[in-house]
Assembly symmetry: C2
């Protein structure tokens, strides 16, 4: 009954107070100021629940965190910063971030959970992360008329709002660098291929080889979880082949660290016998031995971009087709790669 009290205190009607606080035009400047001042003075805070019901908005943006790894007992640590960026932007606009979580399931069950979430009326907009090549979530969100921004692109015949890093360019860059260093036997240690980022990375890798008239060997393009363990295992399986690769491009720094461990176990010297390039420029990559050549991308900043886009989408200031932000990725050269061995 709080706005009632404030209205009484001011000798105004509830509606005038409400409209004054929400900046409507049909309340005089003098009254508006008086209301705002008094509200502040007596510490009036509109009840969010009532506000949501009255306005038919939840003032929340939803995100479903995907469980990471095969165990599903963790969340990819990257999302901390992404969400931090999103919240930084939406908070000042009065929005909050509602986090849900998706345990490891079959895709059908995942989609059911997803639909339940967006149909439940919990949020006004959605951040869809870790897009798949074919991602049913877009259809579900569209069917529910729920504005959304994806973090990562996907196959879709309709325009949609996305923010992504230029995975293809990044892996083209990295592969070209290795080619320039004289490597001809380059392997790709990729993430799970159902995710679209993995497709882009593979494409960049293949394009780089093709531009030098090299035919990529499919058996040298492996994929696995984005973990050190998977990187280690995949690299090991490649190193026992003859001839073995002389260079590895990895989907994440974590995978690169695993690959480096495998190379070391094989008695190879990183940066001379064998080259490894990672992705992500994790804080560790500058401090490991040898420092990891990797690609930098700005997760927190991307999160901010997502947040801004969502707000504009919710205010109808912008169309989904207008949100296409491809973050350029820069290569950070360090010491884990070098000229191809003779």
């Amino acid at each position: 009954m709080s706005i009632v009290l404030l209205a009484k205190n001011l000798g105004l009607s509830i509606s005038t107070v409400s409209r004054a606080l929400n900046g409507y035009e049909d309340v005089s400047a003098a009254t508006r100021e008086r209301v705002v001042l008094r509200a502040k003075a007596i510490g009036y805070r509109p009840n969010p629940s009532a506000r949501r019901l009255g306005a038919g908005k939840t003032l929340a943006i939803g995100v479903i965190l995907p469980a990471a790894g095969s165990t599903g007992q963790a969340v990819d640590s990257m999302y901390s910063s992404l969400l931090g960026g999103v919240v930084t932007e939406i908070e000042p606009a009065g929005y909050h971030l509602l986090a849900s979580m998706q345990a490891k399931h079959d895709a059908a069950r995942e989609n059911a959970l997803f639909e339940n979430f967006i149909r439940g009326g919990w949020v006004d907009g959605l951040l869809i992360v870790r897009t798949r090549v074919h991602d049913a979530r877009l259809e579900l969100a569209r069917a529910a008329k729920m504005p959304f921004v994806t973090y990562g692109r996907t196959e879709s015949d309709q325009p949609y709002a996305w923010v992504d890093t230029d995975n293809e360019k990044a892996f083209h860059l990295a592969t070209t660098r290795l080619l320039d260093l004289g490597h001809r036997r380059i392997a790709l240690i990729n993430g799970p291929e159902e995710y679209s980022f993995a497709q882009f990375r593979r494409r960049g890798f293949v394009r780089a080889l093709a531009s030098r008239r090299l035919k990529p060997d499919p058996t040298w393009m492996l994929h696995g979880d984005l973990t050190e363990g998977a990187g280690h295992e995949l690299c090991r399986s490649l190193l026992i082949r003859r001839p073995a690769p002389t260079a590895f491009v990895c989907a994440t720094d974590s995978m690169a660290f695993g690959a480096i461990a495998a190379c070391r176990e094989a008695g190879l010297s990183i940066g001379s016998d064998v080259s490894v390039i990672g992705y992500g420029n994790s804080s560790l990559s500058a401090f490991c031995d040898p420092p990891l050549t990797t690609m930098e991308h700005q997760v927190f900043e991307n999160g901010r971009y997502v947040g801004r886009a969502l707000l504009q989408l919710l205010r109808n200031e912008i169309q989904p087709a207008d949100v296409h932000y491809l973050e350029p990725v820069v290569l950070v050269p360090r010491k884990s790669d070098g000229p191809a061995p003779q």
Copy 2:
């Protein structure tokens, strides 16, 4: 007007439908079943906003993510898994997690933001992370009568609900291990001392030394950000002293990796010339060179514990004083430590 429709469809009153769906006793079993079935059949979902207003609950639990590092442009990646655990538990109970974010500010401004958040009526309960030794947030939450669980303990004259890892024991364990290996010049590379976890770690470290009648040298107990960079810098500053430490206990694996880098730069062989122990058992620690001796703790599981405790607190099934969960930490011996050099 959805429950109205459902009620009409059933030929019942709104109140009976509501009470049936919420499992009240004054509705016959037959009717209840009929209502539940029909609700499912026509796909009725109670509107969360209305529910919140009606019941006076938000069905949300809040957490404020602290900005990490000195730049404040990131969130400690640990929180991904912690939040994952929390959500896993509260989701099935119909609760959601509302994430807010705290940029780097002075403590006063931080507390103002915090109060604004809890007084705003957005959440029913709180998760307070990264506790300080003296943490004003507890008082603010109590004053607002907002149930909360802290992740990490703090100084407080009243009982409060906390979940923590046994930092003191962990660092006692690690330090004792180094002492048993013959080390006598052991340094502590700690996190920021305003945080209570850093105090506990220091205490464990000091106790271990004291139990061998060793007087800890305060100039060998340094602290900094929980980053590789800080670990590197602090370790470097210790290595140039004479005599230099032969072993380092670090507040996180990240700091340990930084310390290892510094040792390597000084030409020391890790595990023989110098020993380093980390904390966290990050996925990388098994794959670096040498594999890092570290301490394992289960962030995701702790998050689940927090979630369960919050639910019970909200239901008044339990008192804050009943929530004292100290996670045991186990040491994971690997190769980054060894006998003290002669």
